[in-house]
Each structure stands twice: as structure tokens, then as C-alpha cells.
Symmetry: C2
Subunit: 366 residues, 2 copies
DNA sequence: AGGAACGTTGACAGCGCTACCAGCAACGAC
DNA sequence: GTCGTTGCTGGTAGCGCTGTCAACGTTCCT
């Protein structure tokens, strides 16, 4: 009679159905919507599947149902600590769900992102997580037209494609500068690398805060398109110092740069924070154990990833969030590297405390 | 007459074939083995596909061909810098190929690994990359039985399941200790965290080198199962110092710990390398710009990932490597933190120079 | 009692592609 | 001229699953 097994010896749904004494379609329903079955059949199918060690064939399912159970994730870098934390959150949230993660690296290129997006969309993903809010017009059009939920992560801005979760890099930078002013620092330099859109917005925040205080000077800003590194932090700081020897603080666009600045100060025997205060961005783990401990702006990267994936999965399954845009905030973590310069410290940038917003979430490390 | 388009408006192979004036099967062949077509048909299909913007339906292909074009990758951690470098190599190598990467995180649990392996294998991956050589018996049996190429990465050992690419953590640790002895250090402590199999083998290498020199003392070893961090490095070093105040060097199982030790030394005003020498492991980027610069054992992580994926893809396509086991070696990068203690330095551990092996490969950073 | 409404189940017909094998032309060997 | 042999092409028949819709039994309402 008919074959009982697929060529490869794999168990098919039909075998499970036969053992359970139901039709294949009923068995199929068990895996997709168990509540639709009577309790009796449900248990029968369940034990039959377990007995045979049945594993659904995802390709067949995808072909028949015209959709996949794949969540596409587009991030700019695999190396950057920031993204590995986000990714960990995404993977953690997807675990236990039926969805699997398909990851691609845009290498900070929106053209590459557009290409990958086209590829992803052609396979009808269940949902999509994309980084940032600066897509090409073409990408944006594809995202708008996509018939799956989409979450933009890492920052927040006007008109989300669908959902959005992140924080304001602009406000975060302003808060960092406000903190430095509160501590009595006035001539604050900016060191930035890679200059992706988020770093650019941190620079914008720095510029606006400095202008508010009447202290802005283009010569205080050193940036490069080169990928960030600790060594680069030292090199950029060296440039800055040559230009502005009487600078009294540096705001670094990320913690690697900050660590490089710290090392460079040590090399040059510049006292931190005595002569130069340092503030980083992201609050990576090492910032708290450096000597001196380094002030940084803490961001909820793991939570961002985890929440993004959770929201996305909920949306895929029809449970859309009340609020499509979620601001996870940030917090200036004040440490030794930026402590008070003099006693007459008074805020020169307004709204410092108010800009310091952070939703309480448990931090989790691998 | 029949439908010209799929419901979703997507272009199918049939449309391409029709436009090209060939049968669907010929069009299909074009995408899998263009050489099998006559030049005339090949160009006809090619331009038809381009004109229609055809994208193959991977689910249908997988269902019909009974195999997927997915490479499964199992790694223990998404956060660890070491794995992000390896991953970058894997993704870089897969780019441009027809294969996509399916990543899963075992969280350093071989039981979790076994579970994921079962899941992966059920979907018939084109190939598999697994971390390390310590699988459960069950996992090993599944891997042996799998009908796809497999690469084990991160270390090398006896009986590979299939292919293997990595280096000897044992030898690398021995080389690090040998270097310290050459520089005149004698009482060398060991600081390790997480204690996964590879860290354990580094410890074994340390122990054997210390025993060879007649200097081994269990009290010089401090380890913990806790995940690694910079802060932890400082804490473990503090323990070690309390136990053995006259220790003159520390070998750290990774660079984060080494950085923590450096900061702790600074905090306690212990001169490095004057009073304590420090050697790390992995040679992360910051090691070269710390003050003092930190000695470390360089490993070819990016190349390991890239080569593993390349070998795997070649094997999938029938081009098996002459050598299934590839040793990528390591190199002790000597820096200030371990420079000579006295002038009468002489090797106390043999084979120091010989153990220092490294295949010349271009290092690439993101 | 009749019928609407609901919950549960099954039959059928593909999803878009490729494995398999057959067919056909062109060519050379005998 | 016959018979392979090779190179290319096409027809047929699924791959394993699910969408759709119809059918059934039961309950509840009027």
C-alpha cells in the first residue's frame, strides 16, 4: 500500500494522525491551535507525536501556508558590544517561541540594508527588526508595503514604520553634557568615531548643549569615519589635545573611545578627573572597574532587544501593543572620572535632571 | 489560461520560464547549475529572471529537494567578544554564497547544545558548525549520523566528527607560561572564570608548565564558574593576592580578566610589570593600548570563523579539504606588562619558542 | 418542534519547486 | 545503416503541509 514513511525515514504528520486515529488536518491543527481540538483528540495527538518523535517539516509548512516563522533582524555590526547585547535580548525572547531568527549584517550601509531587506521580504518573514530610523526611501517603501509587523530599534523618532523602541541619543548626549557642566566643567571636547546616524545625533545633542551654554567651539569636536576602537580613542584625544590644550573634559561617543582616552591620559600623566574629566556612552561593564571609574550614559540594550522581539512576536500573533513607540530611556551613571572640578558648580544647561530618564528594568548579563 | 501569478502577486519560476520560452525545469536548472544549459537558453532565462525580478521560493525549493540551504551554527555565547569575531568570519564567508546562517546559543550547556542539535538536524541543514569538542555522547551520535558536513571550531583534538579547525588551548597556555619564565617570573598565578572546556584546557596547560618548572602550587590558582568580566578579574586577583602576596606574575584566562587585574593593580599601587607581570588571552584590541600595554596570546578568531564556513561550504558542494583538521595556531604577543624582571632570565619551561606557532593570516577588524 | 449558532472534524486541492526519467538531436564508431 | 554515446530539454509526479469549505453533532433559543 501507500508509503508509511518519507524516503528519509522521517515521521510525517500523516503517521502521527494515523496513530492518533484522526485525520491529518486535525493533527495539523494540534500544532497550530491546540485549543480548537477537543480535549480527547488533543491528548491523543500529543502522545502520538511524542511517541513517534514527530518534528514538523518547516519547509512544507512555509510552502503551504505562504508564510514563514522567521523573524528577520538587520543590524549594522556583529562586533560592536552594543549590538551583541541587543541580539542576546532578541534571541532570549525568541527562545521558546515558534519563531527563529534570521540575522544579517548591514555593515552600517543603508544600501546594503536595502538589498538585504529585499531579500528578506521575498521570503515573507513573520516579522522584521531593523536598526535605526534612517532607511533609504526605497527601503521605507518596502517596509510600509510589507505585510508583517516591523520594529525599529536603537532610537526613537517621528513616524515609525510600524513599532519603534529605543531612546533619544540627542537627549542622552545633552544629559551627559549637562552633567559635566553641573560638575563645573566648561570646555568640553567631543570625540566620535564611525559617525553612524546615532553617533551623529549624539554629536548634535552635544553641540546643542554646548551652544545653550555659550561654550560651543567647532575646534572642540574631533570625529572620524573610521570604525571605533580603544586605540582610536587615544589617537583622537591626542588630536583634540593638540588643538585645545586647556580643555577640561571630554565626552566620548562610546565607551571604547573613553577607555582609550583614559589610557592616553595615563600615558601623558594627565590627572583624571583633576585635569580632564571623561564621560563615555553605553556604560559597558568595564567602565565601573576602571581606575578611576568612568562616568557613562547607561542604555538598556538587552531590554531593547528583548522587548523588541517580544513586541514583534505579540504583534505577529495579533496582539498589538497599545503604544507602538516605546522610549526605554537612559541614565547618566556618575563616577569618579567626571567628579566636581570646583565648588561653585551650577548647571549651565537646563533640564539636566529631567533629561535623565530611565525606565527601571532588571539588567541582565550573560 | 491558468493563473499567471501566485496569489501574493509574486513571480514564480513558471513565469520566468514562459518569458524565456523554455520549460520550468530548464529555468530551474539555470539557478542550480547554469553550466548544464546551452548558452542561448542560459542568457534567455537570465534576462527573463532579471526583467521579472524573480526571487526563488526557498520553502518550495527545500520541500522539493529535501534539503535546505541553511548552515546551522551553535555557539556558547553571543556576548563574548571571542565569538562575535568568529561569527563575523562565518557571516563574511557565507555572504555571496547561497547559504544562510542559522544561529543558536547553547549558553555553555552541552545539554542545551544537544537539544538544539536535534532541532537543527530535523530540518536537514546543508552543514553545521559546532563549538568545541566536548559534545554529549548523544550529540556526537547525532552528528556522526547526520548526512551533512560538520565543522568543529575553537579547538582541535583527537577524532574529529568530520572537519575541525582551531588551536590547542593547552599549548597556548604553556607558551604563555614559558614566556613569563623566560622573562624571569617564577611565582605565576592563574585567574580563570566561566571554566568552560577551553578555559579548563588553558588551566591544564598552565598546571603542566608550572609542574615542569617545579613551581606549581594549587594556591596559585583561582577560578570561578561565574561568567567572566573585568570587575571579576579584579576580584579574583584580590583573592589570589591575599593568599599569595609574593606572587610575581598572573596569567589570566582571558583579556577581560587581565584588564580587571591591571585596574586592581593600579588601585593598589602595585607596579606592572615591576611587581606583578600580567598576561592575558585572546589579544583583544584594547590590550595594545592599555598602560602599560598588556601581553596576550593572539588567536585567529575571525579567520577561524571565515575558514570554517568556507571549508564547510566547499564540503557541501563536494569539494572536501585534503586536510580535515586545521590548526590555526596562536602567538604570544609580548608587551610591557610582562617584560623582564631580572637580567638572569633563562627558560625554565622547554619548547617555548617552538610552541609559538601562528599561521600568517591577515587580521581583519570590523 | 424547528432552526440557528456553535464547536469540532474531515476532504480536497494545491503551495512552487525539483528528482527522476524519458526523449530527442547530433555525432562518431563500426 | 545501425547502434551507442553525449548533451540538452521536457513531462510527470510528487515533497509534507495547510487554506478553504463543507459536514456533522450538539446546544440553545424561540
Amino acid at each position: 500500500m501507500g508509503r508509511k514513511r518519507t524516503k528519509s525515514g522521517k515521521i510525517r504528520l500523516a503517521e502521527v494522525a494515523e496513530l492518533a486515529g484522526v485525520s491529518p488536518i486535525t493533527a495539523s491543527r494540534f500544532f497550530r491551535n491546540p485549543e480548537a481540538l477537543s480535549v480527547a483528540k488533543r491528548t491523543r495527538v500529543e502522545s502520538a507525536a511524542k511517541e513517534l518523535g514527530y518534528v514538523p517539516n518547516l519547509a512544507a509548512r512555509a510552502l503551504a501556508s505562504q508564510r514563514t516563522e522567521v523573524i528577520g533582524v538587520l543590524i549594522p555590526s556583529l562586533t560592536n558590544n552594543v549590538f551583541s547585547d541587543v541580539l542576546r535580548g532578541i534571541y532570549d525572547a525568541s527562545e521558546g517561541s515558534r519563531y527563529s531568527i534570521q540575522l544579517s549584517n548591514t555593515r552600517y550601509s543603508i544600501l546594503q540594508e536595502e538589498k538585504l531587506l529585499r531579500l528578506f521580504l521575498a521570503q515573507k518573514p513573520a516579522g522584521l527588526i531593523v536598526t535605526g530610523i534612517d532607511q533609504t526611501a526605497e527601503s521605507r517603501a518596502m517596509l510600509q508595503a510589507a505585510d508583517c509587523p516591523i520594529v525599529q530599534i536603537m532610537e526613537i523618532g517621528p513616524d515609525p514604520v510600524d513599532m519603534m523602541i529605543g531612546f533619544s541619543h540627542y537627549d542622552a548626549a545633552r544629559a551627559a553634557i549637562a552633567h559635566l557642566f553641573e560638575q563645573g566643567h566648561r570646555k568640553v571636547g567631543f570625540v566620535g568615531a564611525r559617525m553612524d546616524p546615532r553617533v551623529q545625533r549624539r554629536l548634535d545633542g552635544y553641540v546643542s548643549a554646548m551652544k545653550d551654554a555659550g561654550s560651543f567651539d567647532q575646534r572642540l569636536v574631533v570625529t572620524t569615519a573610521t570604525p571605533t576602537s580603544v586605540t582610536l580613542g587615544g589617537a583622537l584625544f591626542t588630536d583634540l589635545l593638540a588643538r585645545e590644550p586647556d580643555m577640561d573634559a571630554v565626552f566620548c561617543a562610546n565607551d571604547d573611545l573613553a577607555l582609550g582616552v583614559l589610557f592616553e591620559c595615563r600615558r601623558r600623566e594627565i590627572a583624571v578627573p583633576g585635569q580632564i574629566a571623561i564621560v563615555g556612552f553605553n556604560d559597558l561593564e568595564f567602565m565601573a572597574s576602571a581606575v578611576p571609574t568612568l562616568t557613562s550614559v547607561r542604555t538598556n540594550r538587552y531590554e531593547m532587544g528583548k522587548t523588541a522581539a517580544t513586541m514583534l512576536i505579540n504583534a505577529i500573533e495579533g496582539r498589538r501593543p497599545e503604544q507602538p513607540v516605546l522610549d526605554l530611556g537612559f541614565k547618566v551613571i556618575e563616577r569618579q572620572s567626571s567628579s566636581a572640578r570646583r565648588s561653585d558648580s551650577r548647571p549651565a544647561v537646563s533640564g539636566a535632571a529631567a533629561a535623565n530618564k530611565m525606565i527601571a528594568l532588571p539588567s541582565s548579563h550573560d
